[in-house]
Assembly symmetry: C2
C-alpha cells in the first residue's frame, strides 16, 4: 500500500511527524508532499493565478509552494508520476477540525482533493482545547489502528473521513464514536485593529466563543467527551428543504 | 435595504460593475468591499497568518488585501461598523460556478461567509462556455428581478443561494430553474510543466473535460439549456449513508 502524507501546517510541522509514524506503521511505501509554508485556513484554495514550484528533500519527500490542495494535486498528478497512491492521509493538524471548521480547514481540503483525484483520503486532527502543548502521543498511539479499521470498513469514493483525536493522554481516550458534523453556535470571528511601526493600520483575526454544550452524536460532543470522533464528509451541498420551497415559490411564477 | 457587494475577481473586475447595477436597481444604499486582487479559486480561505489591510475609494467603496471571505468579514464586522448589511451579493463571477466548482469558488465562499455572519447572501455567476467575451448584459437584465423573487420567497439562515446565468443573450434566456448541485464527471485538473527564463521549472494549472451530458434537474443541465439556475447550498457535509455504515462497522468493535 502506497501512502501519500500531506497537511496544511506545512512540511516542517510537528504534526507531520506524527502522521508519518502512523503511515509507517501501515506501510513501507510512504511519500510526503506538503505545503512549503503553513496554510491554516486555506480551505480548498487552488493557486490559479501564480506559478507552482516544488522542492525535493529526499526520494519520497517534497514540498510545494502552494496550498494543501496544490500539494495533493502536484503529488498525485506530477511528483509521484505513475506511482499513484492507494491512500492519502492529511494531518495531523495542530488543532481540531470540527463543526463548521471542516469547511475552512486546509487539512480536510487536502483530503477532499485526494478524493476528487480518485484516492481514498482521511483527514486527522488533534484537539487542543486548552493552550497547552498538543498531545501528539495520542494520535501516534491510536492513529494506525483507526486507519486500519476504516480501511477494513471502507467508504464511498465521493466521501472523505474526518478523524479528530481528543485532548487527553492516550490511555484516557474514552473510545471511538462515528459522529455527525456539529454546529458551533458560540463562535464568532472578529478582526482586531492594530498599528504597525510606521503608523499604518492593520487587522488581525481572533475569535470569541466559549466551549458550548453540543448535542450527543456530534463531532464536537465526542471530542469534548474524550472520544476519537470519526465523521464521513462529502461535497454535495444542495439544501433539500430549500430546494423544495424555492421550487414551489419560483417555478410557478 | 442596505446591500454589501463583494466578489472573488477583485475590486476592479468587470463583473462587479454588473453586480452594482443589480444592487442599485434594488436599493440606494449599496456598499462595495471586495478583494484587492483577483482571488479565483480561493475557496473559503481566511488570511490567518498575515495582517489584513483595507483601502478606501469613496464613502462606500473599499478593497481588502485578502480573500473573498476576508473582504466580507472586514466589511461586515469592521468597515460598515454598525451599518450591518441586510443582504450580501457576491459576483457577478466571470465564469459559471456549478457542480463541484461551488466548493472551490471564492464567489460562493463570500456568500457563505456572509451567511455565517448572519446576513442573507446570494452568489451570482455568469457562464462563459465558449471563450468569447462574457455576456454581462444577461445578469444585468435579469439579476434584479431574480434577487427580488428570492427575497420574496426567502430561505433559511444556514443556506446561501447560488445563481448562475446562462451564456446567451438576455432575450434568449429559457427561464428560471431551481436545481440541485450537479457532478462534473468529465473534468480533470492537471499541472503543466513549464520553464521560466532562468531555467527554473514551474507548473501551471489547466483542466481537461469536454462538456458532459448532465442529468435533468442539475445546475449544469439548466445552464447548458439556457436557463438561469438557482441552487440552495449549505455547509452540513455529513454523508448520511456512510454515517450509518461506519457506525455499524466501527462501533461494535
Amino acid at each position: 500500500m502506497r501512502i501519500l502524507c500531506s497537511n496544511d501546517d506545512g512540511v516542517h510541522a510537528r504534526g507531520l511527524e506524527s502522521l508519518e509514524k502512523i503511515a509507517r506503521a501501515l506501510s513501507d511505501d510512504v511519500w510526503v508532499v506538503a505545503p512549503q509554508e503553513e496554510q491554516s485556513g486555506a480551505a480548498r484554495a487552488l493557486t490559479l493565478a501564480h506559478p507552482l514550484r516544488f522542492r525535493q528533500y529526499d526520494e519520497r519527500r517534497f514540498s510545494v509552494s502552494g496550498t494543501p490542495s496544490d500539494a495533493v494535486v502536484m503529488g498525485v498528478t506530477r511528483i509521484m508520476g505513475d506511482k499513484k497512491p492507494d491512500l492519502i492521509l492529511s494531518g495531523v493538524n495542530n488543532g481540531q477540525n470540527l463543526a463548521e471548521d471542516v469547511t475552512v480547514s486546509g487539512t480536510i481540503a487536502a483530503a477532499f482533493q485526494g478524493m476528487s483525484l480518485g484516492v481514498p483520503s482521511i483527514a486527522l486532527s488533534l484537539s487542543r482545547l486548552e493552550r497547552h502543548n498538543a498531545r501528539w502521543e495520542t494520535p501516534e498511539a491510536h492513529g494506525a489502528q483507526i486507519v486500519r479499521d476504516l480501511l477494513k470498513a471502507g467508504w464511498p469514493s465521493d466521501v472523505v473521513v474526518n478523524v479528530n483525536f481528543p485532548d487527553c493522554a492516550p490511555d484516557d481516550v474514552a473510545g471511538v464514536e462515528v459522529t455527525r458534523q456539529g454546529h458551533r453556535d458560540a463562535f464568532q470571528l472578529f478582526a482586531e485593529e492594530r498599528q504597525d511601526l510606521r503608523g499604518g493600520t492593520y487587522y488581525w483575526y481572533g475569535h470569541t466563543g466559549a466551549r458550548s454544550n453540543p448535542p450527543e452524536g456530534t463531532d464536537l460532543r465526542a471530542v469534548y467527551d474524550g472520544k476519537i470522533s470519526i465523521t464521513p464528509l462529502h461535497l454535495a451541498l444542495t439544501h433539500e428543504d430549500s430546494f423544495a420551497s424555492l421550487t414551489k415559490a419560483l417555478m410557478k411564477s
